[in-house]
């Protein structure tokens, strides 16, 4: 039987290819994702390994609450360093300080690609320093800087050139004294790195005299492990002591965890494409099974068993899966750099040193691709087994519907399938989800059949939609009319073909509605709550604002008030409950300066008033209504909060605000002075500025901007309108990325349309021959096929839009409205989506239409 299948394959190369691609694209994205993330992980593992290769032991701060975001004060200093040096077996020790800062040209242009911050490190003694000078020398004077070769080459930087480094202290100019290589390679895993002398690195970090790491070298005869134990014993327990190898492994695994998000994000799109591919494979094999009814009848007549027929079809699916998965895997290897490029284009610069293809990537990609294909082909195969032998003798023998199983059989089957799905899910969640969707659809169908026992299945949606769309193009005459009728001839087939497109477009609609809602929500939130004149932030979102900005801006003429808002986090215990259980592991904390804050930020209160904020003491806090109701907290209750710098503070709840999800006040609100003392917070998140009464706004803003440009070039000022505009641009940028990734699913569904059309044309060969014989021109035939495709695509588009929009509205109303989200329908985007569906349909029709028009009239007339 396998030989038969293979021969059939060779005879239908085009179809095999088209169907194979349906699954290949999803597999390619999956393989590409694994390759990309493995490559990045590998690059970083190598980088960290090299960075710590010559450090026997490393002392760092205790990582309370994910410390390392770098916004807390460093606790290591010269005294710690002296204690380390005194430990026997220590050959040398050196303090390091690393922080993130903006790197700019003297004219204010950011030097790092897409504005990501650069690492600013204190240059280490040669035995610890992983960087070596490729040109010039590493910094030895206060005004000197060395920059990594990768950045220098990209930005055309030369020795002797001036660059600006803007960290937590006012920006300073440095002269490039050296171009540095990292252990022989051009850059530090793609990140920009600058080296300064220790005292300057501390200045940039805003922490004179402080270190955030101590590198230790061992004397001969003392192993790193032994030395680590000795150093640990000599230092307080609040510090972490690791060997260099441990520290490298630790940093690598932390990074892998962060990259896990990227992997999951991309894999979601791969699975969406695979679901769409499964639809197409199901449809294609279903159609071919129907077309080969006679062939199966003949095989049955010749004595083939049902099992053999089943195997023949399943083997066909298997081969298809193998072809598709292999093409996909190869495509994935090519796609990985493209994905990397895509993320670069959208502002995420990731290191990529060579391509890493792990065995896992190959196994998972091939396995998932083949499994999805075989699963999708299983149901049509089952159908093929029901072809009666009589089908060989007569034309038009319908495959009888499956006899309905008894209720008991159903329950048993359901349990078995469920166990299988759970088993598969434990191996691969994605495949599990795909299977689950399949099972649910089967279940619904079975339920439908049970209810409409014995009745012919009738479709309503497809003919109605086809009729509506057909009516719109009915002015195009007979070709449009025929296209409409042809598209409802096999409504089930049209539905599945259209549904493949629906998946992609539905998600586009869903996300675009949610995004529009988010933009509107932000817009409303800002205009409702912000009462100041300007918002000052780091122009790279997510980066902190130096604490020195607020006092500096206060000195500008015409500025009425400035209020700084900082964000930190803490682990919250409820002291009202016995044993003081932890109620929030990492709770967000907002730190404010109440006097000026209440003048520029409005919020609604559940308990209390702005006066509650102005009366806030160092041991007081205000919480949000959501946090209060989630943990059953009340005014007057006492909470214990462990801060990021390992302090324990006790706070009393003084008020409850009805802050919405995008509000500035997070779970807990405390005084900014408390945040800088107990939480070790030394950076702000945002500053609000209001102009003095009677001041000329334009002049004041000009003054502020000049100050920022000179001292804090990494920051900028925005009006509320500018701010919301920027946020909405960011949302749009993210949307674009999502659309690009969803486009893959749409492309997959196009192959489905092509496939279905080609197969339908094959079925209608004689009809087309007759039409040509009685004088239908080639262009009319082409037009007819194109309209048919257009109708199918638009059915998919309309269903997608309806499902996506309704879904987004439901999600907003039921899940997000409590947090203040509003619904907003992006009519323009949705219309463009529909237009794209129409264009996609026309595009998909090109090849089938050409084939149909090229049919030889005589041959077609005599075709069976």
């Amino acid at each position: 039987m396998l030989a038969l299948v293979l021969r059939g394959f060779l005879q239908r190369k085009l179809r095999v290819l088209l169907t194979g691609i349906a699954i290949a694209l999803g597999v390619a994205l999956m393989a590409g994702t694994y390759i990309l993330t493995d490559t990045i992980n590998h690059a970083f593992a190598e980088v960290f390994g090299t960075a710590y290769a010559n450090k026997a032991v490393v002392v760092t701060e205790k990582e309370t609450l994910g410390r390392g975001s770098g916004s807390e004060v460093s606790v290591l200093n010269a005294a710690t360093l002296a204690r380390v040096r005194a430990v026997p077996g220590v050959a040398a020790a050196s303090g390091s300080i690393s922080s993130r800062a903006a790197l700019l040209t003297t004219s204010g242009k950011r030097l790092t690609s897409s504005g990501a911050p650069a690492l600013v490190d204190a240059v280490q003694p040669p035995r610890f320093e992983a960087f070596t000078a490729a040109k010039g020398h590493l910094p030895s004077a206060a005004d000197e800087v060395a920059i990594d070769q990768g950045t220098a080459t990209r930005e055309h930087l030369r020795l002797g050139q001036q660059i600006v480094i803007a960290g937590r202290s006012p920006a300073r100019d440095y002269t490039i004294s050296g171009i540095a290589k990292f252990a022989g390679s051009e850059s530090f895993g793609g990140a920009s790195v600058v080296l300064l002398v220790t005292q300057q690195a501390q200045y940039v970090a805003g922490e004179p005299g402080a270190y955030n790491g101590i590198n230790v070298a061992n004397s001969a005869g003392v192993s790193p492990q032994e030395l680590a134990a000795r150093v640990r014993a000599a230092l307080p327990a609040t510090l972490t002591v690791r060997t260099g190898a441990q520290e490298a492994a630790n940093q690598t695994s932390e990074l892998e965890e962060q990259l896990g998000f990227l992997r999951t994000f991309l894999l979601i799109f791969a699975y969406v494409a695979l679901v769409v591919g499964a639809f197409i494979i199901f449809n294609t094999i279903s159609i071919t099974v129907a077309q080969r009814t006679r062939e199966f009848g003949l095989l049955r007549t010749l004595g083939a068993s049902r099992g053999q027929i089943m195997r023949a079809v399943v083997e066909e699916g298997l081969l298809l899966g193998v072809v598709g998965a292999v093409i996909g895997l190869l495509g994935g290897i090519g796609l990985a750099p493209a994905l990397d490029g895509l993320f670069k284009a959208f502002g995420a610069d990731l290191p990529d040193n060579g391509t890493v293809l792990e065995a896992r990537t190959v196994i998972v990609s091939l396995g998932v691709g083949i499994a999805v294909t075989v699963a999708a082909g299983f149901f049509p195969a089952l159908r093929a087994t029901r072809v009666p032998p009589i089908a060989a003798m007569r034309e038009g023998v319908a495959i009888p519907p499956r006899p309905l199983p008894s209720k008991r059989a159903l329950v048993i089957r359901f349990v078995i399938v469920l166990v299988l799905v759970v088993a598969v899910s434990s191996v691969s969640k994605g495949v599990g989800v795909v299977l689950l969707i399949g099972v649910v659809i089967r279940g619904l169908r079975l339920r439908y059949r049970l209810r409409h026992h014995g009745k012919q299945r009738n479709y309503r949606v497809i003919p109605a939609l086809a009729g509506g769309i057909g009516w719109l193009i009915s002015w195009r005459g007979i070709t449009a009319r025929l296209a409409r009728e042809n598209s409802v001839r096999q409504p089930g087939r049209t539905l599945v073909t259209a549904l493949a497109l629906t998946v992609g477009l539905g998600l586009v609609a869903f996300i675009s509605v949610l995004a529009a809602g988010t933009k509107t929500t932000i817009d409303q939130a800002v205009s409702r709550s912000f009462a100041g004149s300007l918002i000052v932030q780091n122009s790279q979102s997510g980066q902190g604002l130096p604490a020195a900005v607020a006092p500096a801006v206060r000195t500008v003429r015409g500025v009425g008030a400035v209020t700084a808002v900082a964000f930190t986090q803490g682990r919250v215990r409820d002291l009202a409950v016995e044993g003081a259980p932890v109620i929030a592991e990492k709770s967000t904390v907002t730190a404010i300066e109440p006097e000026s804050f209440v003048k520029m930020y409005k919020t609604e209160w559940e308990h209390g008033s702005p006066a509650t904020l102005t009366a806030l003491g160092p041991d007081d806090t205000v919480i949000t209504k959501k946090f209060a109701s989630a943990h059953d907290l009340h005014v007057g209750q006492r909470l214990s909060v462990l801060t990021a710098s390992d302090h324990e503070v006790t706070l009393t709840v003084k008020g409850i605000v009805k802050e919405e999800v995008l509000g500035l006040l997070t779970n807990l609100t405390v005084l900014r002075s408390l945040a800088s003392s107990a939480f070790g917070q030394r950076e702000d998140g945002v500053d609000f500025v209001s102009y003095a009464a009677g001041a000329n706004g334009a002049e004041v803003r000009h003054g502020i901007n000049s100050l920022l440009r000179a001292n804090f070039p990494q920051t900028h000022s925005q009006t509320a309108a500018e701010y919301t505009h920027e946020v909405s641009n960011k949302v749009d940028k993210f949307l674009l990325l999502v659309y690009v990734l969803l486009a893959l699913s749409v492309i997959v569904s196009l192959f489905g349309i092509v496939n279905t059309l080609i197969l339908s044309i094959y079925e209608r060969t004689r009809e087309l021959g007759m039409m040509r014989a009685i004088g239908t021109s080639r262009s009319q035939i082409r037009q007819m096929i194109r309209y048919e495709s257009l109708i199918t695509a638009l059915i998919g588009g309309v269903l997608g839009l309806v499902i996506g929009v309704v879904g987004a509205i439901l999600v907003t109303i039921f899940a997000l409205s409590g947090e203040g989200y509003v619904v907003s329908i992006p009519v323009g985007t949705l219309l463009v989506t529909l237009l794209a569906a129409a264009l996609a349909g026309l595009l998909a029709a090109q090849l089938p239409a050409r084939r149909a028009a090229r049919l030889d009239v005589l041959g077609a007339l005599t075709a069976e």
């Binding site: 005459g477 007979i478 009319r481 039409m771 009685i774 004088g775 021109s777 080639r778 005589l858 007339l861």
Partner: protein, 190 residues
């Protein structure tokens, strides 16, 4: 017949239809010629299953984008006798009815010539007689030229002129004949 109808191209010789030389025409012109000057009746009816009987009849005009001459349409429908079936789809019609729809379709554009390829081949004898009578009527009442290909001597007896082909050569060309005479002629070529 395929050559005469402009469905195939001759390797040698010429075909002239209604004064138009077919041999040199490109596909577009041939298509237009078939649309406007030729009617087709097939053995397997070849109606479009998705269209009603009425839509099938006017299909050649729809393709050409022309208006239907209602008077002519009514006359044809009454002649072939399917007025009460106009809104039905082919699947709801008997074979004889389908072929009568096909006859009306072939005549609707008043072609120069109608080619009928075994028009009675797939019909029972009653329907077969009806369809052949119809074709005869088209010739007598509408002055329509009909070229019919058949293996059936009875069908052949309806024609005014009888050509017998054997292995691609005309072996007989003569006036109308009875069923028996036609049968003898066909037997002669074996």
């Amino acid at each position: 017949m395929h050559l005469l109808a402009g469905l195939d191209r001759p390797t040698s010789g010429t075909v002239t239809l209604g004064g138009v030389e077919l041999t040199g025409l490109d596909d577009r012109r041939l298509t237009e010629l078939r649309r406007d000057r030729v009617g087709f009746i097939f053995q397997t009816f070849n109606l479009l299953p998705v269209l009603s009987a009425e839509e099938n009849i006017v299909l050649p005009l729809s393709i050409a984008g022309r208006d239907v001459d209602r008077e002519w349409f009514d006359r044809l429908v009454d002649t072939v006798g399917i007025r009460d079936r106009l809104s039905h789809r082919p699947a709801e019609l008997s074979g004889g009815q389908q072929q009568r729809v096909a006859v009306a379709r072939a005549l609707i554009s008043r072609p120069s010539v109608v080619f009928a390829d075994e028009p009675s081949g797939n019909l029972d004898s009653k329907s077969s007689g009806d369809v052949l009578a119809l074709l005869r009527q088209a010739v007598d009442d509408f002055g329509q030229t009909v070229v019919m290909v058949t293996h059936d001597a009875h069908a052949a007896s309806f024609a005014d002129r009888l050509l017998v082909l054997a292995d691609g050569k005309i072996v007989h060309d003569g006036p109308a004949a009875s069923t028996e005479e036609a049968l003898d002629l066909m037997k002669a070529v074996g």
